[in-house]
């Protein structure tokens, strides 16, 4: 990122972006591969709806997404996961939150 500076906030922003970008990249790559989506990672906006509108995936796809999250990030997705699966960003939020919990970060 070109805007990294010595200011504390800028470093925090840079670190936050790097961490989130890594999770996004892993998830998008695996999503495209598993569901054979006709898109590149750049084509998938992080807010695109996974189910219903947007990518229009069905309940079988939803199961595949859950398996994708669990295998990529070694975390368990709860059975009632509809709130997690709403968009790529909501999936990434969940992954980052679970990673923080594992590390004992508040």
């Amino acid at each position: 990122m070109g805007t990294v500076s010595s200011a504390p906030n800028a470093v925090t922003v840079s670190q936050a972006i790097a961490r989130r970008a890594r999770v996004i990249q892993v998830f998008k790559d695996e999503l495209i591969r598993r569901l054979n989506l006709p898109y590149t990672p750049d084509d998938l906006h992080e807010d695109v709806s996974l189910l219903g509108s947007g990518l229009g995936l069905d309940s079988l796809d939803a199961l595949e997404i859950v398996l994708c999250i669990e295998s990529c990030f070694q975390i368990k997705v709860p059975d009632d996961s509809i709130a997690v699966l709403r968009s790529i960003n909501t999936v990434v939020d969940f992954v980052l939150q679970q990673q923080d919990q594992k590390r004992g970060v508040a």
Partner: protein
Amino acid sequence: MRTSPVRARLAAAGATFRERHGVEVVSCLADREAEYRAVRDAVALTDFSFVQKYRVPEEKGIDFLDALLAGNVAKIRFGRVLHTFLADPDGFIVADCYAANNDAELIFLCESVLPDAALQAQLEAAGATAAGAEDLTANHGLFSLDGFRAWEVVKEIFGADVLGLPYLSIEVYPFAGQTVRLFRSGKTSEFGYLLLAPEVVVPELFDTLAKSIAKREGRICGVDIHDDLRLEGRFFNLHAEGQRVRDPLALGLQWMIDFDKQPFVGGEAIKRRRAEGLKRKIVGVATEPGGEALQTGARIFHEGQPVAEVVASCHSFVLGHRLGLALFPQELAYSGLSFRVAASEGPAVRTISMPPIMPKSLTVKLDEM
């Protein structure tokens, strides 16, 4: 100027009218929160007759619409609806479209920024007459039913099998001796249906719907509240962010495009920009309660410099603060970051993951009703 086929009824109900792209629309009938609550907690009836509507025989219609629209019309299964867009030759969005495969016909609904004559000219240039396209705009009405209890209304009027329709599907139902085409759709996050009816039954259908929603504490609403509902649900809104950011790639609408299909209007320009790489895209933003500075057109600052612009905004009655979409450079377009809005030392604003609300409708399983 084209007006609603139920204008007199809407006026009697207290509607405030305005002009939008050469068509008269209803802005609102009550205060914004009352209309908002009607959708989130009950059901709202909105006149969407401003939408341009076409019927095309399937035989020639597939090739015609496929050469026009960004999505793949040839792949629409029977009974299903494709959500896609119409672009101009430079690849910028001019209409948010539904194309429905209804057996021997394709129904094409077009929420556009083009006046009727301009859209008609674009369709004619693409071969509308040769394809047998029939303009239903003036002789059909279109009503939108949206809300947590919208399914109860369509069930009451058309029967229980309506509940089996999946999202983005079309079915026909008899009503007062005519055929009503019903779209299971919606852009509010709650249950949504569009009812396309010939003008001869439009007043009776409107009255029937109005009576049914009244029994459920519903309301007749205007189009303005749909701007807020679409933003909360992160549905594309041509009349908000779509006016300030016309590039479908920056808007995140790649899912509406089939990049591998035959050429379509604006397709080459879109593919050229895609090959050059995405430089900017829109991201959800939110303030703390009272953060009124988050307004459409406001700039967002990072390290004292303007880096983004708010392209859509509203007050979220559920969340209790303002929400928006802002156009960020790619390197800053991530959820979870803090910025300033309106000035370099202005109020704090943070980028958020969309959609930020959990609608009640997601808790209802219609197939178990």
